[in-house]
């Protein structure tokens, strides 16, 4: 499902003394199958953008096209439920939203809420629990007897069981240890490929953005500062750093080397393997 934001503006609490412009003139295209990373520091408008992706918020100007539907400020919206089943958001710390007696019931809740019958919901629960790398035996346990990492996977399984076309991840690895982080991200990447999903990742991790995303959008002070491939984005690290954003470790390292040596690498390297390959050539260049 294609999603497209066109000149979207959103103001909180319009016509009150507390009115506040959160985002303006935001245009981002997310064709079906895209892995988009949304970056920007706290308060840059990422969360506001995210809530437009499944019509939790309605723009105060501009339009949001989600598949066949167009959401604008004027139209009274009906039947948004269908959109929310197709575009699923995994919020931060999704394990805080678990509530049922068993893992199975918790996973079934979402699909049944969207009208799926119990038998089918259970079938999906079995499928989803395997997709998040847990054993089916866990389905009969209480979600509250699980470890934090397992709880997060269960919460994610609940989202997958709705069979969304688009999955929006808000800092999905916050609070996890390095292994947990890598496992969860690899899992989303695999699902992204296998199910041909669109994935939108809101993250502070430049490493993840550069590793997994086809496209990165940078938000700054409520506007889209730049959209491009990881290479486009990280080829100009100075600018990002000036905006108070981070760049991947590899890029930082390359920058430090270039500064010390007084000349540039042939290209911007995004992985440790790439920069290692370039290194012998880089080190020799000063000789000539």
């Amino acid at each position: 499902m294609d999603i497209s934001l066109k000149n979207v503006e959103y103001r909180y609490q319009v016509n009150t003394p507390f009115e506040r412009l959160a985002i303006q003139d935001v245009s981002i295209d997310i064709p079906s199958g895209t892995f988009l990373a949304l970056i920007g520091h706290t308060g840059s408008g990422k969360s506001t953008v995210l809530q437009h992706l499944n019509a939790l918020l309605k723009p105060t100007a501009g339009e949001v096209v989600i598949g066949e539907r167009t959401i604008t400020s004027e139209k009274k919206q009906k039947g948004l439920k269908a959109i929310r089943q197709k575009v699923a958001i995994v919020f931060q710390f999704p394990e805080h939203q678990l509530f049922e007696e068993t893992v199975e019931k918790d996973i079934c809740f979402g699909p049944m809420n969207f009208g799926v019958n119990e038998g089918e919901a259970k079938r999906r629960a079995h499928e989803a629990i395997k997709q998040v790398g847990l054993d089916e035996s866990i389905l009969q346990k209480s979600p509250f007897d699980l470890s934090g990492g397992q709880m997060r996977r269960v919460a994610i399984a609940g989202v997958l069981a709705m069979h969304p076309d688009v999955i929006v991840l808000d800092e999905p690895t916050a609070g996890l240890d390095p292994r947990g982080r890598k496992e969860i991200m690899d899992m989303f990447y695999q699902l992204h490929k296998e199910r041909n999903l669109s994935t939108i990742l809101v993250t502070h991790s430049m490493e993840d953005a550069s590793r997994y995303a086809d496209k990165i959008a940078i938000m700054h002070k409520g506007e889209v500062y730049k959209v491009g491939t990881p290479l486009d984005i990280f080829s100009d690290p100075e600018q990002l750093i000036k905006m108070g954003l981070d760049v991947p470790e590899v890029v930082k390292f390359q920058q430090k080397l270039e500064k010390t040596f007084g000349y540039k690498f042939a290209k911007t390297c995004l992985t440790i393997e790439e920069i290692s390959q370039e290194m012998p050539r880089f080190l020799k260049r000063g000789e000539a």
Partner: protein, 279 residues
């Protein structure tokens, strides 16, 4: 040799009689004025350790002695004066309606005189560079600012030890750097002892000493240099290797002369530059 400030001896803890040990037979010391990083996978016992340290839970076996005082239900309040905690979620630790009320909260609980209280609140907020936010409401602050106010609340009570329980894990990179820089300055200017429980290995690499926890047990204790020699072993413990170490290894593999596994990018760049000049 530095003075041992906290002695942790044969510490064991279970959350539930039938559960596995969350912490098992853990023994180590915390030295005065050091920055100690405690790392380990989720569920390795790091946070349990933090909770035992200031008496939020009591050990099943073993003992904790802080500055000569054995931790027990009788001494817990005296020990909490010595150990300040900063937790993970900045939104969960605000009690005041303004920044200064929040910092004053702990002091009020201790029955500190008003004059003294005002002085301490100002000093504490000054040392985390939040003195301009006295009358701001907490929800107008960024995550990093909130955590700095939480730190000020702890500082106002003048503890000797500050425990950061994943205090930067919910912050964006800028907020994280703000908080760490604040702590570094405090440590230098006030000779504070810092215990940082963290998943951030780049941060741990800058500590004076590290402890690696694994499945409730103390797996290894040493300087960051020692610990990061463990290399692939760290990955099998659910952890990772900091970037400069990975980079050093990779370059060595390509026969580029790198003398050791550097813990900072600056050091590695420096060595590459020096050897380049000699080529």
């Amino acid at each position: 040799m530095k003075n041992s400030l906290v002695q942790i001896r044969n510490l064991s803890f279970k959350y539930d009689e039938n559960a596995d040990y969350a912490l098992k037979d853990v023994t180590f010391d915390i030295y005065e004025g050091e920055w100690l990083a405690i790392v380990g996978h989720n569920g390795s016992g790091k946070s349990t350790m933090a909770k035992l340290l200031n008496g939020l839970n009591f050990p099943k076996e073993g003992s904790i002695t802080v500055d000569g005082l054995l931790l027990s239900e009788e001494t817990v309040w005296d020990i909490r004066d010595k150990i300040g905690m900063v937790f993970q979620n900045p939104d969960n630790q605000f009690v005041g309606t303004t920044v200064q009320d929040d910092v004053a909260f702990g002091l009020e609980n201790h029955g500190i005189e008003r004059e003294e209280m005002i002085k301490r609140v100002h000093n504490a907020l000054e040392s985390v560079k939040m003195e301009q936010f006295l009358d701001q409401e907490p929800h107008h602050l960024s995550g990093g600012q909130k955590q700095r106010v939480a730190i000020a609340g702890v500082l106002a009570l003048r503890p000797n030890i500050i425990v950061l329980d994943e205090a930067t894990s919910m912050l964006d990179p800028r907020g994280r750097e703000e908080v760490l820089e604040t702590i570094r300055q405090l440590k230098a200017s006030q000779e504070m002892t810092v215990i940082s429980i963290t998943h951030d290995l780049e941060e741990a690499a800058k500590a004076d000493r590290m402890i690696v926890m694994n499945k409730g047990q103390l797996y290894r204790e040493g300087s960051p240099e020692d610990i990061f020699q463990l290399d692939e072993e760290l990955i099998s413990l659910g952890l990772d290797i900091p970037f400069p170490v990975k980079m050093s290894k990779m370059l060595k593999g390509l026969n580029i002369p790198v003398s050791k596994h550097h813990l900072s990018e600056e050091e590695l760049v420096e060595e590459l530059w020096t050897s380049h000049l000699k080529m």
